[in-house]
Symmetry: C2
Subunit: 346 residues, 2 copies
DNA sequence: CGGGTGGTGGGTAACGTTTCCCAATGGTGG
DNA sequence: CCACCATTGGGAAACGTTACCCACCACCCG
């Protein structure tokens, strides 16, 4: 009696070698485009590969050489900004042998460490970490084990490359836009940052700092009003409620991220506050959500695709030469004014 | 002269064995909770593992046994419904040794095949495919190679388990709700399905079929009006424009997915059509977007978390026993009425 | 004509883990 | 007291691929 679906043993490099009447070494050389194989040999081996439908097993490759796999970690799969970055990464990697795998959403330092370790254990050739919250020392450690690119986190290291958007400038764009419309009482909702070490490195902290600086430079230092919650719709909801409870309500709210603005808009709708007639609202990230008709949220565009492309490019370069000097790429944000911001009511 | 950051060789099972003064076999047994190790031995080995900070290398494990990795493929990372499923999966797997990795977004059969193959090449112990578009024969092939669970696709097989929501019933909920409000001219925007083989299996086709059946059973067969586009905001935009151009405009639109409804709402806003005063709009999936204040979209809840939990559970069972009979789980949808649906204007 | 030299091809030992076996021990029932 | 068994431990051969090195063959140059 035979197993009904006894999976037929996988085709290996040995089968290919036998079929093509060459050595396994030769097949391996062809697979890796390595030196030492004549054109005729290459053609013969490739034919055998096609005829047998051979596919190299990443696990076995990883034991000696590379797995041709890049691990990507996104902090929050729900934030519609991150898929843009991912598109940029996969786009840049599309015509290489590399394949991207994603670690699933994670929140918190502990979970993040678990996932980065899992990615390393699974033999990733390189890591792209988007807005990681781990302390810099841990990032350095990771980078010493495997080529790494850090996206969306300021502060740099000789061990890894970084790709960033200028969040200080982005915040200034928003504040400038609102001030130009005539607003003075401009409030900001930030993502609470407790760790002093991260205070300078995280984009959320930079946006808050950019807000403060811009307010000061416009002579609005006295109007600075920051609410600390989190970069989630719930954070926006809560922040907006706090602002509505102020004795002197702000006339404009700069939410640190579009998903925060989502919560803000919801809170205002519930409270019967009209946007932009009663209060203007601006977000950050220019997600697809912001562009949407019924929302039409003023936001800041970060060119997520470009960020991802740069990250992938730098990672490939670092995989090729692990000792190359580290690179910092900084891109510039653009304001996208829409219908949630307008002149304040007189 | 020494390398500045010459990555210190990884700790292996051999190091652990030496440190604990036992054989590598013994360490392996402890790692896998296998038979043949006394409690004292286990304690001794575990101590050595902790002291050395040993972590097993998945690639090496995969060569003989398991990699303790589950591959998940989502069709569209931008559709906010899918993270719910993912949460269910990771939740169910949280206190096991298994780790989830995601294949990045894919569209089209070819891309899907590439990613599933890449996941298999990378030694996944099991696959969870969400709403795959590949032909059934390809799914059977995959399932013969590696334990597989198919989510969100009707039609079953002895080779794999399935988890579904009853899309026919869900569509009926929406149509029933709109009819009860007094609507008769209820249109539907579907995701175009060209392949006849998939016509019965894909959720989008089932929703369209459910719409038709519900219309007929309510005596509204003459009012059936289906526009075929795609499950994207752009698809909704285009579909809505087509409907607005009808000589007799519908009074209600049932979009096959919330992201489609996003586009519909945008088109209506642009055209100055008021929702729900002029036209009612309903979606499907009950995404976080639908719940949002300024949107408040009537939708159908699919219990994505529960879907994911079931998928993960079934996959673990199938990994444990590859020859167990296949299981089909079917969950029931729930209507969530919100502010985009109302009585038609007289 | 001897000895480099550059272009080919292959043999073999890793890589880190698990699986398959066998050995030793001590207890147990006939 | 002998066979048998259950328990505990380890040796060694896989798993599929790549890295390292050596052999061979022309060919060219002095």
């Amino acid at each position: 009696m035979e197993e009904p679906s006894a999976s037929p043993r996988r085709v290996t490099i040995v089968d290919v070698a036998r079929h093509a009447q060459v050595s396994t070494t030769a097949v391996s050389k062809v697979l890796r485009n390595a030196y030492g194989a004549s054109p005729e040999m290459r053609a013969k081996v490739r034919r055998a590969i096609d005829e047998l439908g051979y596919r190299p097993l990443a696990a076995a490759r990883g034991l000696r050489g590379q797995t041709y796999t890049i691990g990507v970690m996104l902090p929050d799969i729900r934030n519609p900004f991150f898929p843009e970055i991912l598109d940029g990464i996969t786009g840049r990697l599309a015509d290489t042998d590399y394949q991207v795998l994603l670690g699933p959403g994670c929140n918190g330092e502990k979970e993040e460490a678990r996932i980065t370790e899992a990615l390393i254990d699974r033999g990733m050739d390189g890591l792209i970490l988007v807005a990681p919250v781990s302390p810099g020392s841990h990032l350095e450690h990771l980078a010493s084990v495997v080529p790494t690119v850090i996206v969306g986190r300021h502060g740099h290291s000789a061990a890894y490359d970084t790709v960033n958007d200028d969040d200080i400038a982005g915040a200034a764009l928003v504040v400038g836009h609102l001030a130009e419309l005539g607003h003075r009482r401009i409030a900001h909702i930030e993502h609470r940052e407790t760790d002093p070490a991260r205070l300078e490195e995280m984009p959320n902290a930079q946006r808050a700092e950019g807000y403060r600086r811009a307010m000061r430079s416009l002579g609005l230092a006295g109007e600075i009003d920051v609410v600390s919650t989190s970069y989630t719709p719930q954070g926006g909801l809560q922040g907006a409620k706090e602002l509505l409870a102020r004795p002197r309500r702000p006339t404009a709210v700069f939410a640190g991220a579009d998903i925060v603005a989502m919560g803000v808009l919801e809170a205002f709708a519930e409270a019967g506050v009209c946007v932009p007639d009663d209060i203007s609202v601006a977000g950050y990230d220019n997600t697809t959500f912001a562009a949407l008709g019924p929302v039409s949220l003023t936001s800041v565009d970060q060119a997520g695709r470009e960020i991802g492309e740069n990250a992938a490019r730098l990672l490939l370069e670092r995989i090729a030469d692990r000792n190359k000097p580290s690179v910092q790429v900084r891109l510039s944000p653009k304001l996208v004014p829409r219908r949630t911001t307008a002149e304040p009511r007189r």
